[in-house]
Each structure stands twice: as C-alpha cells, then as structure tokens.
C-alpha cells in the first residue's frame, strides 16, 4: 500500500509528497469524523421525510380544466395515459346561431406501473389540468391497481401544494407585468370608440399598437 502512495499523487505537489501514508491517514480521519456526526437517515415509516416543494410523487388531474385535447396522451413516452371521450353538440345559444360541438371526458387514467415520472404530460398540458403532488404512498399489492382512474386522479388534486412563492429577486411574471403596466398607464383621453364597459379589451389592443 505504502509503495503505491507516490503513484496515487500524479500532481506531485510538495504537500502531497510530504509524508508517505498521508492519504491513508486522511481516509481514516474522514470515516471517524463521519461517525461522530449525526447520520442523515430519515427513519421513514416512523418519521415522514421532508420532501422538497416540487417533489414528483403522483400526478393529479384537475378534470374541470381538461379539454380532452389529447396532447398529454400523445406526448407521454410510455403511452400510459388512457383517455376516452365523445363529442356532444351544444345547442346554439342565440336564435339562428350555429350549434357547437364539444368534447366530453369519459375516461382518464394514468398507469403508474408504467409512468416514469418524466413530467412531460404536465409540461405539455396547455390548459393547466395536470399537476404534481408530493404524495408517494400509493403502493399496491396488485399491479393493476396502480392504474389510477379519473376519480382517484381528481382526489390527488387536493394534495397539490400551493406553488412556492416567487424568488423576490426573480423576474416578474408576464401576466402580472402586463396588468401592472395597464394599471399604471395614465387614463387615455376620452375617445368616442372606447366603450367604458369593456376594460379587458383595452390592454391587449394598446399593447399591439405600441
């Protein structure tokens, strides 16, 4: 061992060459020091672990937001999201108007036996219908039970934490910035075309002009 010491220090610094077996002593010191410190083990079933705020435990479905666009199912690398739907026609709201059709969700299921927790489905959903929840205690005795149907996915939504507060030094979110700009703008001179009843229509139009 000691005859290997010079070879293990290719840099050949003066401090590295001072004493043969210095590395050996260092190794012993490291383990001894670790022994005197508190160990990092969480005693899991007795004490719940402290999970970071964005832990990927399980996926919750906020079914009210889902438009059955199928993007998530198509992007899932495992193809483990199962969606069934049918179209319904909504009668025209105004007399003489056109009938509209809309998608109605029949089944939404995620097979967590296949899911690899990549989070692509959540990223890709354009309507904010999928969320990460930190819950992780859903082991089953039968692998088929790992397919969570829509009710169960909806239940997980109650465990989704509020998003953590933004970093105070971070950039302002786009929506807030747009709203603030609109609020800070001095009232434009009265224009005949502007209807006071539709303030929402103003902002985007103004921005388009700028």
């Amino acid at each position: 061992m000691s005859d290997d010491a010079p070879r293990s220090e290719p840099s050949g610094t003066a401090s590295g060459r001072r004493l043969p077996g210095r590395g050996l002593a260092k190794g012993l010191a490291v383990t001894l020091r670790t022994m005197t410190r508190r160990s990092v083990t969480d005693q899991y079933p007795d004490a719940l672990p402290e999970l970071p705020p964005r832990s990927r435990g399980v996926i919750g479905l906020f079914e009210e937001n889902c438009t059955v666009c199928m993007l998530c199912a198509r992007e899932c690398p495992d193809w483990c999201i199962y969606i069934d739907s049918h179209k319904e026609t909504v009668p025209a709201t105004t007399p003489g108007g056109r009938e509209r059709s809309r998608n109605v969700l029949d089944r939404f299921a995620i097979d967590f036996a296949l899911c690899m927790y990549c989070g692509i489905c959540i990223e890709v959903c354009p309507f904010d219908a999928l969320f990460w929840s930190p819950e992780f205690e859903y082991a089953e005795e039968d692998i088929l039970d790992l397919t969570h149907e829509r009710d169960r996915l909806r239940e997980w939504m109650w465990t989704v934490p509020v998003p953590p507060a933004l970093d105070p030094a971070g950039e302002e979110p786009k929506e807030v910035a747009a709203a603030r700009k609109a609020a800070e703008r001095p009232d434009p001179p009265e224009q005949p075309g502007t209807e006071p009843g539709r303030p929402g229509g103003r902002g985007p139009r103004r921005e388009g002009e700028a």
Binding site: D3, G27, L28, V30, T31, T34, M35, T41, Q43
Partner: protein, 320 residues
C-alpha cells in the same frame, strides 16, 4: 472428579465466548460501519437500536434450504465450513485472557500451536473453492491459497520476533515477560502481524479472494443456509482470535492498572479496540488489487518483519 468438572467448565466458558464474541463484533461492525457512512444501521430487530439483528439473521439462515450443487464434491463441500470454523475455537482455548491461569488450557508451545492451527482455517476456504465445481469458487479458492502463502510468512516472522524477545513460546509466559518498552521495540512487528492477520482472514482491504464485485463471493459462492452462516461466523471468530492474539503478543495482554484483579478486562478492552480498528479499516479503504496484494506482502511486510527480527536480536544481545 473435580478435575473433569473443571475442564468441562473451562471448555464451556470458551465455547460461550466463541459463540458470543463474534456476534458482538458483527453487531459492532453493523453499527460502526453504518455510522461511519452516515447511516443508522439496523434499528428494528430486538427493539433497541437493532441489537438482535444478528440473531434474526441466524434464524433466517437456519430456515434456508441447504443446497449442494450437483457437480460438487459432496463430502468435501459439506465439510469445508467446519474446517474453516473449528480452528478458531481451538485457538481460543489456549489464549490466555487473564493472569493466574485465566485460560482454557495452558499449552507449552502455545505460540507455535496457535499459528499452526490458525493456518488450518484457511484450508476451509480452499476446500470450499475446490469442491464447489464453480469457476468463481475456484478462482476465489486459489486466490485464498496465494494469499495464505504470501501472508503466512510475515505473520510467522513477526511472531518469532516476540518469541525471541520473551525467550519462550508459551503465551502466558510471553505476557508475563512483557515490559512497557516492548511497545516501541516490537511496534513494527505488531503492525506486520496485525496486517498479515487481516489478510489471512480475507478482511477488507485484503478481501480479493471474496471480491464480490468480480468473483461473486469467491469460495463461498455456492453455499446456502447454515453452512454459509458458518463461513461468516468463521470470519468474525477469526477477527476475535486475531485481535486477542495481537493483544497477547504485542500489547501486553492483561498488563495495566490493577492487573491482578482486572487483568481479563484489560485483555478484552485492548482486543475490543483492535476489533474496532479492523472495522474501521474495512470502512475506510478500497480493496487492493490481486497484484498489489502480493507485492505488498513480499516487498513491504516480509522485509519489515525481517528488520524487526534483526532489531529484536540486536537488542537482546546488547541488553544481556
């Protein structure tokens, strides 16, 4: 009649020590190694900090099926664990723990006897490796043999140095002769003896014969159940024997304050400290490669042991 009773009692005491001490070392290894790695180790078995973990392990091993591979040399295969384990029991009988006959049985040429019998333990691994009809086992067995060849020599030389210093081969007499200045005088010999002993037990960092990442578990690959447990027990019994023997030869055995009444405690304390070092080394160092292992024995340990013998001789002659 009382003689027979006394012998029986002594043997019973040694047997109890033989069964309990290795388990204590094993449990200490579980816990110390865990904490050195920032873990907790076993926490549940027995309720308080997993104290009964090794008993639970023993029960588990006893329940398992005992398999002998079809191509194995049946008799040798089944005999090997006993050959590996029993020598350590025999050695424990002659190790003096305290003054005034605190020993299982006094043997005149104790040192010679102990070293000879300890060498037999390694035969168990060789038998297991050869009889298993498995290439990994065979590799492990041959590595064991090579390691035995390389490390038996420095171990014997270092022990011979102590025998020269004390002028006797009897273990109790060696301890009687011990003076405090033997510590620096025989320090190199002690280090060589301890290191070579570790290698002979195939303890990390000298565990090339069982290197699990390359040859599965060496000679013990095909073993299951109780026979496998016996091999593990042999390893820990070996640690106990090695630590006690090093204590007796190089650390002055029962010498210490109040050694008349507490001598046995001193021996055990020193042995425990050494056992901790064994665990500590295992946790701290990676395994030596086979060629490094051989080179270390032949180019470092043997010259050191020879130098120690020369030093011992010179001091003996000058001092007289």
């Amino acid at each position: 009649m009382s003689d027979v009773l006394e012998v029986a009692l002594r043997l019973l005491a040694v047997l109890a020590a033989f069964l309990v001490l290795p388990l204590l070392v094993g449990q200490a290894e579980h816990k110390a190694m865990a904490h050195m790695q920032g873990r907790l180790g076993p926490m549940y078995a027995g309720g308080f900090h997993g104290w009964a973990q090794l008993i639970a392990d023993g029960v588990k091993f006893a329940q398992k099926e005992d398999i002998v591979p079809a191509g194995a040399d049946r008799r040798v295969f089944q005999l090997a664990p006993a050959v590996a384990l029993l020598p350590y029991l025999v050695v424990l009988i002659v190790l003096p723990v305290g003054p005034n006959g605190f020993v299982g049985q006094v043997v005149d040429a104790g040192l010679f006897f102990v070293l000879a019998v300890m060498g037999v333990g390694v035969l168990g691994s060789l038998m297991a490796g050869w009889a298993s009809a498995n290439k990994f086992s065979l590799l492990g067995g041959l590595r064991t043999a090579a390691q035995l060849m390389a490390y038996e020599l420095p171990m014997l030389l270092a022990a011979a140095s102590v025998a020269m210093a004390a002028g006797t081969l009897s273990l109790p007499l060696i301890v009687e002769e011990f003076e405090w200045w033997w510590l620096p005088w025989q320090a190199v010999g002690g280090l060589v003896f301890f290191t070579a002993g570790l290698a002979e037990l195939q303890r990390p960092p000298f565990d090339m014969p069982v290197a699990d990442s390359e040859i599965i578990f060496g000679a013990y690959t095909e073993y299951t159940g109780l026979r496998f447990a016996l091999f593990l027990l042999a390893e820990y019994a070996g640690i106990v024997v090695l630590c006690l023997l090093t204590t007796v030869l190089f650390l002055g055995g029962w010498h210490g304050p109040w050694s008349d009444s507490l001598g046995w405690l001193w021996t055990l304390l020193k042995g425990t400290a050494l056992a901790f070092v064994v665990i500590w080394l295992r946790t701290s160092y990676p395994r030596l490669r086979e060629d490094q292992l051989q080179r270390f024995a032949w180019t470092v340990l043997i010259p050191l042991a020879l130098a120690q013998i020369a030093l011992t001789g010179v001091v003996r002659v000058v001092a007289q």
